[in-house]
Structure formats: C-alpha cells, structure tokens
C-alpha cells in the first residue's frame, strides 16, 4: 500500500510542475504584456509601467521568470489581487470552506437520491419503477443546471418566498444552502443512480448472490449486505471524482446563487481580468484535483485488492 502510494506520489510531481508551467505560460499569450494587464484598467504612466515590469521581472529570461514564479508558489506566495490588493492565497483559503460546504451538501443530495433509486431499479429491472427512474436520470443529466437554478429561484424564492435566492447568509445557515445543493446535486444523483444500477445488475448475476439466496437469506440482506458492498466500489470512485467536479463544476451555480465560493471568485477574477487571482484559483483547484484523484486511487486500491498495480499500468 505504502509503496503504491509513493509510486503514485512520484508520478504526480511532473503533473504538478506541468500545471504550474501552463498557468505561468498562459499569461505569455496576453495581448500586450503582463505588466499592462496587471495594471488593469487604471490610468498609468510610463514610470508605473516600468516599475510593474521590474516588479514582475519581465526583463529577465523566461526560464528565470518561471523559476521565480515556482519558488514563490512553493512558498505560498501567489501574488496579490490586482483588484482588491489582498493576498491571493489568503483570499482563496477564505473561500474554500464555502465551496466545500456546498460540495458536501450537494454530494449528500446526490447520494440520498442516487443510490436508493439505483438499487431499486436494479432489483426490479425493466419494471415501471426502473423505467421511471432511468427517464428521471436522463432528465437529470440533460437539464442545464443554471436553468434549473433559475426555475427553482422563480418558484421557491420569488413566487412562494420560502427560500433565499442568493448569498450564504450571515451567519451562514442551512436555508441558503438548500437550493444550490439541490441544483448541483441533481445532476450527480442521476449519474450515481445510473452507475449504481449497472453495477448492481452486474453483481446480482454473480454466484455468491445466488449462494446467498440459496441458503435462504432474506432478500433484503442479500441486496444490502452481499450485493451492495460489491456494487459500490465503482460508485466510490465516481463519488471521489464528483467531489472535485462539484467544486469546479459549481462555477455557474455559485454565480447564479451569489455563493461566496472559490469558483465564483475565479469567475469574478476572469471578468475583471484579475490575472494573479485567476492564476491562483486555477492552480490551487488543479492541485486539489490531483490530490483528490490520488486519494480516490488509494481508496479504490484499498477497497478492491484485486486491482493492485493494474490500474496504474493502464493509466499509462
């Protein structure tokens, strides 16, 4: 296990360096140069411009610039926001709890709807219930989440006035969380429902399930104790992937509900051309993504010892 983890960790280093390189090089494609971009919309004279060029080290060769950027990033210095002048890292760390709360709540919604409906579908395949939940799942993956968000706001906030439509509340409360979590969770509920159904169907055909039934076990136990555990392995991976997907896929939802998370901050940074902030957000979420993938791999390895290194070899 430890050797496997070390192996995977070693594989991650070039990926992380690659990510930082892409984020660093992206600014080279700016029309004009980074100094102009960092000075933003403000009026500036030649002196300001030169000072900014010097501060950013633009007169140095590219590899020196990258080395310095990487060194700063490793020390936790992602620069300062062009717009608010706050430290990028502290601004991001401030927003992470909001994003994680939303992701966790959405995941709960997705699991509570997705797993039971997937199991029910698999237990009675091709029944009305199964068809109903599969059509529901197809609708769930097809409905654009920003539109669903607007429609729920229209009904529950504007017409019925039951739930707030924006912000996180001060202090943060559950009421503000309900609508964004339902919208974000619904698409994942559909994915998890489909996955649970297909994995359950596969497992229910195995010999050990037949044995369990043959020895007279109650169907409830056969399903929940014997089949479900085995069927959930791929579902766990999907959940792992979803967690990061939920953080980054929530951009539109955070914007619609004015949820003060990291994705909305990245969106605002893009709107105001606040490049240091945008670079920081992209890089930190990419790091998070890579780390969560590692944890998922480790979990997968732990849950299903048959995998061993096959997974790593297949990934190439």
């Amino acid at each position: 296990m430890l050797a496997y983890l070390m192996h995977r960790l070693a594989q991650l280093i070039p990926v992380l360096i690659g990510c930082s390189l892409v984020v660093f090089l992206a600014l080279q494609f700016l029309p004009g140069d980074a100094a102009q971009a960092f000075l933003g919309e403000r009026e500036f004279n030649q002196e300001d411009y030169q000072a900014m060029r010097e501060y950013l080290g633009l007169d140095e060769p590219l590899y020196v610039q990258y080395y310095k950027y990487l060194r700063n990033v490793l020390q936790g210095d992602f620069g300062r926001s062009v717009r608010t002048h706050e430290q990028v890292l502290s601004a991001i760390l401030e927003r992470i709890p909001a994003s994680l709360t939303l992701a966790a709540a959405s995941l709960i919604v997705a699991l509570v709807i997705g797993i039971p409906s997937g199991i029910l579908s698999a237990v009675k395949p091709y029944s009305r219930l199964d068809q109903g939940s599969m059509i529901g799942a197809l609708l769930g993956v097809s409905v654009p989440n920003f539109w669903l968000a607007l429609m729920l706001i229209l009904v529950f906030s504007l017409y019925l006035d039951w739930l707030p439509a924006s912000g996180r509340g001060s202090p943060p409360d559950v009421k503000h969380l309900v609508l964004p979590a339902i919208v974000l969770g619904s698409a994942y509920a559909a994915t998890i429902c489909r996955l649970t159904r297909s994995c359950m169907l596969e497992v229910l055909g195995h010999d050990f399930v037949r044995t369990a039934r043959a020895k007279g076990l109650v169907e409830f136990l056969v399903i929940n104790k014997h089949a479900l555990r085995n069927a959930l392995i791929p579902v766990v991976t999907e959940i792992g992937i979803s967690i990061v997907g939920l953080i980054e896929g929530s951009t539109v939802i955070e914007v619609v509900f004015a949820w003060p998370g990291i994705a909305r901050m990245a969106f605002q940074a893009a709107q105001y051309r606040d490049y240091p902030m945008l670079q920081g957000c992209v890089l930190i979420v990419a790091f998070l993504f890579v780390l969560v993938n590692l944890v998922v791999d480790a979990l997968y390895y732990y849950l299903d010892p048959r995998i061993k290194f096959a997974g790593a070899a297949n990934e190439g």
Binding site: P14, V15, L16, G18, C19, L21, V22, A26, L27, F29, L30, P31, L138, V141, S142, V143, P144, F146, W147, L148, L150, M151, I153, L154, L158, A187, T191, R194, L195, S198, C199, T237, E238, I241, V244, G245, E248, G249, T251, V252, V255, A263, A266, F267, A269, A270, Q271, R273, Y275, L278, C281, V282, V285, A286, F289, V290, N293, N314, E315, G316
Partner: protein
C-alpha cells in the same frame, strides 16, 4: 505477397461492414435512441434552414414591443429589447449546434490521433504525450476555460477551442487503450511483416478497430459540448451578447425573471431538449456498440 494482403483486407472490410449494418439495424429498433436521433435531427435541420423559417430578424430591436407575451404575431413573445424570442431561439440553434459539433470534431480528431500514436509507438513519445495529457486532465475544465477566455478574449474559435480542449485526454486514453490491445491481433502482425508502413497500419487496420469507442465517446460528448457552450454563454464568456445563443438568452432573461419568466423559460427548455436528444442518442449508440462499457464513459466529469 501483395495479392494476399489485398484479399485479407477485403475479408476484413466485408466483416466490418456487416457489423456496422447490424448495429444500424439495432439502432433503428432502439426506441429511446430513435427519439434522440429525431430530436437531434430536427434541431440540426432548424439550425440549417434558420433564415428560411425564422419569422423575424433575430437582432432587430423594437422598443415599442418590449416583453410582449405570446401572441399570433410573436408565438413565444418578445424579450427585453423587443426582439422576437422564437426567431432568436431558431438562430440560437445555429451557434449552439455549430460550436458543439466543431468542438466535438476538434477533440475527436486530436484525441484519436494522440491515442493512435501513443498506443502504437509506445516508448518515449507515449510517455511524453501522456504526461502532457495528465497535466491537461488535472485542470478543472471550467476554470481552465475561464483562464483561456480571459486571456484571448471571447470569440467563436476560442469557445470551440476551450470546449474541445478539456475532452482530449479522455479520447486519447480510451483510443490508446483500444490500440494497445488491437495491435496484438494477428492481422496487424501480418500486415507489419508484409511490409506495411506504420501510417498504413494505423489508418487501415487499427483505426477501424477503435471506431466503436470513438463513436460512443463523441456521440455522448455532443450533449456535453452543447451544455458547455450554453454555460459559458450564460456566464457572459461566450460570444458577442447581441448574437442569439441559448445560454446568452437565458443570461439576458435572468434579471427579469419575476415579471417576465417566459424570456428565461423557453431557451432553457430548448437547451434541455437538445441535450436530452443527444444524450438519448449517445446512450443508444453506447448500448449497441459496446454494452460492456455501460456507465464507464459517463463516469467522466460534467462541465
């Protein structure tokens, strides 16, 4: 020698033709798939003949007709600038469909090429390209799109590029895996020993063998690409907001949601219908071509 090789190819091609015909017949009997294909075809057709069927000019502002409800002259009403909603929706299909389709073609071609090359040659080039794709895969798609669009500015080519870019690693990995196993087949070994060039082996023998996963992935990607385009336009990062796009129309309707919900309801319904159609079609293609893949393809991230 040459004659033998030709015979071999002929046998192979006849076999694959039958396979495709069987799949096509199966598709015709798949209710959900046909339903999806019908919707997709209808939207494609609407996009194609938009100038002929749209009752009004989609960008013509009419200040005295702001927020009109449905009527005989404006079937779906008008928007905040008095523009006819139905005409804008019809023209919107053009941009959504075009951007979605070209983005899928872009990622299919690039991803397949990388997958074929890495799977066939292995070694250094395989390692190099796959590590580059690992880096691309590590980036959250929406945030990478935000970064790129903030730098190069919004335009249709930029939109196509950012939507296509995120899907490349998935294509490359699946094609690479398929090539790795397909190239062990005897006919590939035989072709190589008969002196076929690598390019010929890749094009004539390996590509037809990995067509099934490519087709499954690209048909499922279409729905995702259309959602991605709508999301980015909804965020205001798409193209010129005066041009009609479904996501852009939803964005424009947002502030008037309470008093004039129809401006936001119809574009959303149409996006859902289009995505539903492509998803249903993609699911059917997947079930027919490879039932074993089941939800694995679906397991990827949504944008």
């Amino acid at each position: 020698m040459k004659a033998e090789a030709t015979v071999d190819i002929a046998v192979f091609e006849r076999g694959s033709e039958n396979l495709w015909r069987t799949c096509y017949r199966k598709f015709l009997h798949n209710g959900l798939g046909m339903f999806g294909a019908a919707i997709s075809l209808a939207i494609g057709l609407i996009a194609l003949v938009a100038p002929l069927i749209a009752p009004y000019d989609p960008i013509q502002v009419e200040p005295d007709k702001i927020f009109e409800l449905r009527s005989w002259s404006h079937w779906l009403g008008t928007d905040e600038l008095g523009r006819d909603l139905l005409s804008r929706l019809i023209y919107g299909a053009r941009i959504s469909f075009f951007v979605g389709l070209v983005a899928v073609i872009f990622k299919t071609v690039i991803g397949t090429t990388i997958g074929l090359i890495t799977g066939y040659f292995e070694g250094f080039i395989d390692h190099l390209l796959m590590r580059c794709l690992d880096v691309l895969y590590a980036f959250p798609r929406t945030l990478l799109a935000l970064l790129i669009l903030a730098i190069v500015g919004p335009s249709i080519p930029a939109l196509i590029f950012v939507i296509g870019l995120g899907g490349i690693p998935q294509f490359a990995r699946i094609v690479r895996g398929a090539v790795l196993s397909a190239k062990q087949n005897e006919y590939v070994v035989a072709a190589r020993s008969l002196g076929s060039t690598s390019a010929r082996i890749l094009w004539r023998y390996l590509l037809p063998n990995v067509l099934a996963p490519i087709l499954i992935l690209s048909s499922l990607s279409l729905a995702r690409a259309i959602t991605a385009e709508a999301s980015l336009s909804f965020l205001g990062l798409g193209i010129d907001p005066t041009l009609p796009t479904w996501g852009g129309m939803l964005r424009a309707g947002g502030p008037y949601l309470r008093l004039h919900p129809h401006v936001a309801i119809f574009p959303g319904l149409l996006i859902m219908l289009a995505v539903l159609g492509f998803n249903a079609m993609g699911d059917a293609v997947r079930d027919i071509l490879d039932p074993r893949m089941l939800s694995r393809v679906r397991g990827g991230r949504t944008t």
